[in-house]
Symmetry: C2
Subunit: 505 residues, 2 copies
Amino acid sequence: MSFNLATMLTTAAATYADKPLVHAGERSWTYAEIDELSGRLAATLDALGFEPGDKVAVQLPNVPQFLLAYFGILKAGMAMVPLNPLLTAPEVAYHLHDSDARALVTFELFADVALTGAKDAGGIPVYVVNPSGAPLAGDARPFDELLRCDDTRLLRPMSPDDTAVLLYTSGTTGRPKGAELTHFQLYMNCTTAGELFGVRDDDVSLGVLPLFHVFGLSSVLNIVVRFGASLVLVPRFDAEAAVAAIERHRCTIFAGVPTMYVALLQHDVAGRDLSSLRAACSGGASMPGEVIRAFEEKFPGVVVLEGYGLSESASTTTFNISAEERKVLSVGKPIWGVEVKVVDELGRDKGVGPDEIGEIVIRGHNIMKGYYKRPEATAEAIRDGWFHSGDLGYRDEDGYFYVVDRLKDLVIRGGYNVYPREVEEVLYEHPDVVEAAVVGEPDDRLGEEVGAHVVLASGARATAEDLIEHCRQRLAAYKYPRVIHLREELPKGPSGKILKRELRG
Amino acid sequence: MSFNLATMLTTAAATYADKPLVHAGERSWTYAEIDELSGRLAATLDALGFEPGDKVAVQLPNVPQFLLAYFGILKAGMAMVPLNPLLTAPEVAYHLHDSDARALVTFELFADVALTGAKDAGGIPVYVVNPSGAPLAGDARPFDELLRCDDTRLLRPMSPDDTAVLLYTSGTTGRPKGAELTHFQLYMNCTTAGELFGVRDDDVSLGVLPLFHVFGLSSVLNIVVRFGASLVLVPRFDAEAAVAAIERHRCTIFAGVPTMYVALLQHDVAGRDLSSLRAACSGGASMPGEVIRAFEEKFPGVVVLEGYGLSESASTTTFNISAEERKVLSVGKPIWGVEVKVVDELGRDKGVGPDEIGEIVIRGHNIMKGYYKRPEATAEAIRDGWFHSGDLGYRDEDGYFYVVDRLKDLVIRGGYNVYPREVEEVLYEHPDVVEAAVVGEPDDRLGEEVGAHVVLASGARATAEDLIEHCRQRLAAYKYPRVIHLREELPKGPSGKILKRELRG
């Protein structure tokens, strides 16, 4: 028995050879082209002496070469280690060293940092995608060197349990760890989630999520290829770039994080034709109910469906499958073949309802094999077969799940649990609030005090006192924030998620 | 990461709790009932001290208890060893011993033979399904003992590469060997084939193929459960029982072997309402083109789609996906994620067309892990990642495959290859011929002579000489049969396939 995730590409290429798989900038690449070029890359890696099971790091923004590297590495039976382009040189070195990467593919904008990092990690070869054609520094090699071999047939048979992607994540604690995602796991996730999302071969997906992140990799790229759809790559999200891409390519679906929805809400789209859009899915962070309502009002015909997942769960774990069956504020129900429970500290099942908040644990085909070379962290994360997500939530009577907060984001004020999301929901109800993040602040008397970091709409006049009063009227005394920081913007991670750890300072 | 094939049942039961999963005789069992009872069986196996990975043999005809045993064994993380109810005691002992089975589930009709076999295999416990309620002989235990535990939640997390079913097959040579079929492989096969066959949750499948055979297990039972359909169990195929079941339960689909189609063709169905039937799939042996044409004429609205597969490929490997895209006489194209090639003795690719006959080799998610405890036979069967089927065939320009014959059935007459199927096709064109099987007969001068065993329609008057003349006019001189044996019936295997080895004597 053998299974290689890249079968998704070769099979789709047999059916959709001349159909565009990727639109990027002024160019498009067909399924046949991506299949052929990734086949060349696989054969070249093979010819260069890399071996099945070797790791190759890929540090690219959303450019077509990401697909060539990804599918080429898979076809050759190796595993991809996607890296954030914004890593510093020591971080690059850490990831390369920790993952045992034998080569790095990077982009001209980050090449200097990448080369420094690669040198510190033992001097592995660095291949640079340089669309500008500018000469490459030092030991850098042009990406095209990886496309030299012209035998494009390699598709190495793998075990379904072999690692396809090593995805770095902080998990709940500590330094970044490589979650080992397998061929089977990634196949099952995009197939199952794509079916629930109703993806078809005439869909055009707006690719604004970074492909080096699990959400973009599994729920955008893999789904597109699995169902023979097309993908419009946007190298860096901003609202105008997204709107322009939707108009130009008649995008029908997109996946994004809440901050992207907020940005689109703030953007003037008068006179723009966005009628092709039919559905959007949200994940990566909790979506304020107010944002969903406002978004669907502003973009009629688009339904926003919320899901939930993590790097370790190869993206989708639960999903709201349709406008008819969704529950706003809920992240939906587990996808096919996945079990989700809410448990207390001892692993005992909690009851039903919002009073029974506990840790969300997950079991099924979507859970990683483990953290690379970290048996202890793996044993800590996967206990009795259940992956412990580090997220707090509850289940309702109908089997829908609600993510209340990250366990580590919980604020404990004078012994009472305050769930930041609940406070944020109230802040978002205030007409002047664009973004809000609630965190615990050290307090001598109470242990922690509730603080909020808020971005106001341009021209808005609300004061910190106004916002505190707004919350005081709507929340129990122990919950409302006593401190409000008005800010120009909030720090965000690569996928656009607000980074609370930076707010906690 | 974990995946248990029984997830198909638990997931379907969550959606279709009160829907009938099985109709058998006068009773029906809902999805919830089968899920609960198989859960009891799993918990009981666990409580009795059986362990994950243990093998449990199941020797049952098409009765509902087959489903309880199958899914119970899977839920407990054990592997099922399906056995043909018609095995002799020494054969039972051989299979139990070879598979390391730790228990046997059997049926009252075969209990004596089974008990003798189990005693010879070290005295493992034998559980007997006895619908008659008659007292059990010797050490036999009632099947209901396996349903004692009432905690029905066990669904042991497995690796997708763990063995779910150990399926005995002769393969190309030698004594029966246990093909190790995995959770992943069986999941992929029924999902992929069921999608191609267009199975829906309102389908009612006629279960005439034995469930202990790969075709019935994967292409009938697993598909039904995977897509939330219903299954009508017919314990032993005969045409009238099949027609009665179709009428009573409004069956929409069925899978069968060519001899079943022939039997239905011979059966008087005047005045019977078989209008519910929409599609049928055929496999297990080559289907004469004449039979397909006559069948579709007799049963208007039914399309017959031919596929190809083996025990080692978890059933479906190639399939004709629809009336529009099929090619009669072809077995269709490879299913999603499966590669098929035609190669010569040295493993080199053959060209395209009927002059380029070679061995069919297969690679993909549908190929077994190996033969249980037989690394040499496994290495002989799976070479360079390709499973060697032992079947002869060719590929046409459009990528459709044609199975010409079993390699071992090939007749070599005076140095020329005669493909029995080609001769059989010509025999079936004769109006008096109901069944035909062509085999090589030892011949001093030519090495082998072409012989045919033929069953005529009742009342038909054709003589052996008439049939030889019929063939002589239509086939090259070296191909037409010189010897015709007119017979009352032809020997058949459990799935209804004609057993040529018995004709060769």
